[in-house]
């Protein structure tokens, strides 16, 4: 049933997203005059320095922020519905840990064998995808045999533990420069993604988002629990495998390109539920998408306001956590 303020909120959030996207492009560590920004956006092939910064750096970064915010939030929503647990997030399956394991291996290997690779961003991305994919396939093969979703939660957490241990062993074996390279990757960054890389990231995420939209009825039925969902004619087993795959694609792909972006995935679904006052996925999927996009854009703008950009993950938690606490407290009273 449509609540009167739902429609209004969708319009406001859409406007907010557009404003924030433009602000994200306009604001940064280099201040660029308004005219130059307009010029750059209208004539993207111009040869000025400002045009270069806007087109080659800030626009892809804004697009990455939009996609990452939307994808991680939806992955979090999928997992919260999957486990019917408000603390679940995109990382509970261990897929993001898998990505960091891939990167740790890559960074280590290159420091041992051929230092010249280290500069290659593609190496990082491909190794992260490989790591995420390995964990995803492992969890899928386990999940297809299990009846209870809470068992999958435990196994996902155990995978994260194993992978975390491997990563710390690798760090221990590495020289300080390599460790620093890895640690910087774990800070998360939206600015390293180029236009060329976006050509791969965008289709992956659009596919993930599209199939999440298609799943809305099944997700609603799952809110009642597995037995009731079956009673409503939903095949719980296949739905669970689809949800795991989608979460893997959404969280794995974003993590591969941007590094682990913390916090957004767990927090945003709560923000959206509080705003829209519903758990109905027909409303909460687009709601989560818009909230996630807005929140990550805000965090990115904030992180760029100092001379040396702050680690995105630090801003996410410092700004995002109090916001969510406020929203949750406000609606509980």
């Amino acid at each position: 049933m449509r609540r009167p303020r739902t429609f209004l909120f969708f319009i406001l959030l859409t406007i907010l997203c557009i404003v924030l996207t433009l602000s994200d492009i306009a604001l940064g560590s280099v201040s660029i005059p308004f005219n130059a920004i307009i010029q750059a956006l209208l004539h993207p092939h111009g040869q000025t320095l400002f045009t270069d910064i806007i087109i080659q750096f800030r626009v892809p970064k804004a697009i990455t922020a939009i996609l990452t915010g939307a994808s991680l939030s939806l992955a979090g929503l999928l997992m919260q519905t999957f486990f019917r647990n408000p603390l679940a997030g995109p990382d509970v399956l261990g897929v993001t840990s898998g990505a960091s394991m891939g990167v740790a291996f890559y960074v280590m290997a290159t420091s041992w064998f051929a230092a010249s690779f280290v500069e290659s961003r593609w190496g990082l991305i491909l190794s992260a995808i490989a790591g995420a994919l390995i964990v995803l396939l492992l969890i899928l093969s386990v999940a297809s045999r299990l009846k209870q979703s809470v068992t999958i939660l435990i196994i996902g957490l155990m995978f994260s533990g194993i992978v975390g241990a491997i990563v710390s062993i690798l760090q221990n074996l590495s020289n300080p420069d390599t460790v620093k390279l890895f640690v910087v990757w774990t800070f998360g960054s939206l600015s390293a993604v180029t236009w060329y890389q976006l050509q791969i990231l965008i289709p992956l995420l659009v596919i993930g988002l599209f199939f999440t939209f298609m799943l809305q009825k099944r997700l609603n039925a799952l809110l009642l629990g597995e037995h009731y969902a079956q009673g409503l004619g939903i095949s719980v087993r296949s739905t669970r495998l689809i949800m795991i795959s989608l979460t893997g694609i959404l969280a794995g792909a974003t993590t591969a390109f941007t590094g682990p972006i913390a916090f957004i995935g767990v927090a945003v679904p709560h923000l959206a539920r509080a705003l829209f006052q519903t758990s109905n996925h027909r409303i909460i999927i687009p709601g989560t998408l818009l909230c996630g996009t807005s929140l990550l854009l805000i965090c990115d703008i904030l992180s760029q306001q100092t001379t040396y950009p702050l680690p995105l993950n630090a801003v996410n938690a410092l700004f995002g956590a109090p916001l969510i606490i406020w929203v949750v407290l406000k609606q509980r009273t």
Binding site: L223, Q230, L232
Partner: protein, 280 residues
């Protein structure tokens, strides 16, 4: 050769030598075996019996949530296992004892989910669906609270909302696992009357498990009395005449009185030392 149950058009579902339980290695855990049961149109069946005798297991098996260990369940002339999940949802609807925990879902939204089997991939509701939802809510008298969140309902209202969801699903067979648990007397009676009324007015087959024996004796069309060695089946009068109740609920503490159809608690004898007396 077709069995009698298959020829009788009023039979919605029947079982043949059904064994229920849990597959375990090396031997399956058999809860009940060789069950030959029938669900008929317009009848309310109350399944009763002591804890752990297999009432819920039977209901889960009939609903297709767990597989029979042996024997078969025939639904509209076809084996239950041959139906797809979606096809089953057109024929069977259920409420379980699992308490649903959903943050911010309204009564209306819950009842609307009952229409899911009838809607497209996105759960698009048509005018006819909306009418059925409103009618189902009216049948359980929750019109005033249809926009309330489930969290804000009392246990009785919650149970009625769950029943409305089942009604909205509009299936010929309705299964309820302990619909009267946690309810006060008024709600227990009104829930039982509501289900009885649904069975009669919609000409559907209602099966419920319950511990409300005295109420079941007054309202049920059929009683399935489950005990560790099988199931005694019959109308309330038949079950009482057979002495099944006296046999199944044997106790020093109480006994069943077939005349008043009530369980009478025995007066405490002097020799039976109560815990308080022991302390002295």
């Amino acid at each position: 050769m077709k069995s009698l149950s298959q020829l009788d058009p009023s039979v919605e579902l029947f079982t043949e030598n059904l064994s229920i339980g849990y597959p375990q290695k090396p031997d399956p855990f058999i809860v009940q075996k060789e069950l030959n049961l029938q669900l008929r149109k317009g009848e309310m069946i109350c399944v009763a019996g002591p804890n752990g005798v297999g009432k819920s297991t039977l209901l889960h098996t009939l609903a297709g949530l767990q597989n029979p260990l042996a024997g078969k369940i025939v639904l509209h002339g076809q084996n239950l296992s041959s139906y797809s999940m979606t096809e089953k949802a057109f024929l069977l609807s259920l409420t379980l004892t699992d308490r649903i925990q959903v943050d911010k879902m309204t009564v209306w939204e819950l009842v609307a989910m009952g229409r899911y089997p009838h809607t497209n991939r996105f759960g698009k509701l048509h005018t006819s669906d909306l009418e059925i939802i409103e009618r189902s809510i009216a049948q359980v008298h929750l019109e005033d609270k249809k926009k309330w969140l489930l969290d804000n309902l009392s246990d009785g209202e919650r149970q009625r909302a769950m029943i409305a969801k089942v009604l909205a699903q509009a299936t010929p067979i309705l299964l309820f696992d302990e619909p009267t648990a946690h309810l006060d007397l008024t709600n227990r009676v009104s829930t039982m009357l509501l289900l009885k009324n649904v069975a009669k007015s919609c000409q559907v087959s209602v099966l419920l498990t319950t511990h409300e024996l005295e109420m079941a004796l007054q309202l049920a069309d059929q009683i399935w009395l489950m005990h560790p060695d099988g199931v005694d089946i019959g109308t309330p009068d038949e079950v009482i005449a057979k002495g099944s109740l006296q046999h199944i609920f044997q106790s020093d503490l109480f006994s069943f009185d077939p005349v008043s159809r009530r369980f009478i608690i025995h007066p405490v004898k002097e020799t039976n030392a109560s815990p308080l007396e022991i302390k002295k």
